[in-house]
Amino acid sequence: MINKKINSVEEAVAGVTDNMTLMLGGFGLCGIPENAIAELVKLGAKNLTCISNNAGVDDFGLGLLLQQRQIKKMISSYVGENDEFERQMLSGELDVELTPQGTLAEKCRAAQAGFPAFYTPAGYGTEVAEGKESREFNGKMYILEKAFEADFAFVKAWKGDEAGNLIFKGTARNFNPCMCGAAKITVAEVEELVPAGELDPNQIHIPGIFVQRIFQGAHYEKRIEQRTVRQR
């Protein structure tokens, strides 16, 4: 077993420097790599390009990096719920590349799986298709989208083992599996890190080969964005 365990969150972000492209898992605030984000704020790397479905809220998630002006560009499908984001975007400080959600996921998966590009119908005939090749297959139009190229992927899983194997929980899975192995270095943080051999090999969502570093996060706030309940 090749041991991927690191012993501190400092090691998790080691190597991240200014101008890098980072992938960050999560959908809204669900399944985001909370500990890595907090450490990226401490690290202070600037001019980052962040690939993440959303951009957090003002005081949590990627909003923390935005507050510190560490992000130059966001590549996301939806960026609401964040006033500081809006301010930076409207002032031109922040560049935003909006990408259809399924395309975003597949651009990650293409990078993971060694596909340089793929054809998708999403965005054909819209602004998203501007400057992109389009092509007909079986009477339907598709646009050519390229695989992402990223330096680091920071993902969050529920359980993991020292071999880097990951298991996700609920909808906190979202973009996290697609980003594993989609960047030069993948760093996984987990709520519970166990020795190799404790996870059922049948039930691993992401094999350790896609993960270079794994650590147990010190604390998870797991903030809820839209707490919605029904009456008993």
């Binding site: 669900c30 939806y78 399924g102 990650c108 998708t120 119908p121 999403a122 909808t171 839209q226 919605t228």
Partner: protein, 218 residues
């Protein structure tokens, strides 16, 4: 004239036994409340869940179990969780039977605009472009006119497009319309709404064939 719940109720009648359904944010989300109880339907949410149930009881919320609107949800027996790539495999691969979306504008040829208003803060298309580009059965839930009374059922969309030629049916506060090669065919009137009122509220070509029944949403 229908309110939002009325639109949702009417759309719920389009949901058939055995359908996998994706509901957009807003009025579409309400549709789940009105689906007949004697049919089996599974709701998919593009953030990675199939088999969504009702909202949780207070104190039973799980931060790890949400829908695409970021609301806490529950799941029903037979539910499954999956990643975003597989979720859009379901959508792009046409495994979802019915997609219900809101819209700002729909055009005669079925184009939809629902993601961007130039000059305003753009939040993004989320999964809408994937949904409209792939789904074979898209129903739009929307108001027939904007707050100033101008039609949103148009010859041609004025706002940036989300997808081309994809809408099949529209349910508004005033009417049910089918999108046909010839234009918007009026299928039903909302209770108390006249054909004339619908005509006046529709900029796109409206096709009226024979008597137009009032819709039943009981």
């Amino acid at each position: 004239m229908l309110d939002k719940n009325g639109i949702a109720k009417r759309i719920a009648r389009e949901v058939k036994d055995g359908y996998f359904v994706n509901l957009g944010i807003g009025i579409p989300t309400l549709v789940a409340n009105f689906v007949r109880e004697d049919i089996e339907v599974e709701f998919q949410s593009e953030n990675g869940v199939l088999g969504m149930g009702p909202f949780p009881f207070e104190g039973e919320e799980d931060a790890d179990i949400i829908n695409a609107g970021k609301q806490t949800i529950t799941t029903l027996p037979g539910a499954s969780f999956f990643d975003s790539a597989l979720s859009f495999a379901m959508i792009r691969g046409k495994h979802v039977d019915l997609t219900i979306l809101g819209a700002m504008e729909v055009s005669e040829n079925g184009d939809i605009a629902n993601w961007k208003i130039p000059g305003k803060m753009v939040k993004g298309m989320g999964g809408a472009m994937d949904l409209v580009a792939s789904a074979e059965n898209i129903i739009v839930a929307m108001m027939h006119t904007n707050k100033r009374g101008a039609s949103k059922i148009l010859k041609k969309c004025t706002l940036p497009i989300t997808g081309l030629g994809c809408v099949k049916k529209i349910v508004t506060n005033l009417a049910v319309l089918d999108v046909t090669p010839e234009g918007f065919q009026l299928i039903e009137r909302a209770p108390g709404v006249s054909v004339e009122e619908i005509k006046n509220a529709t900029e796109g070509n409206l096709i009226i064939k024979g008597e137009i029944p009032e819709m039943k949403i009981a």
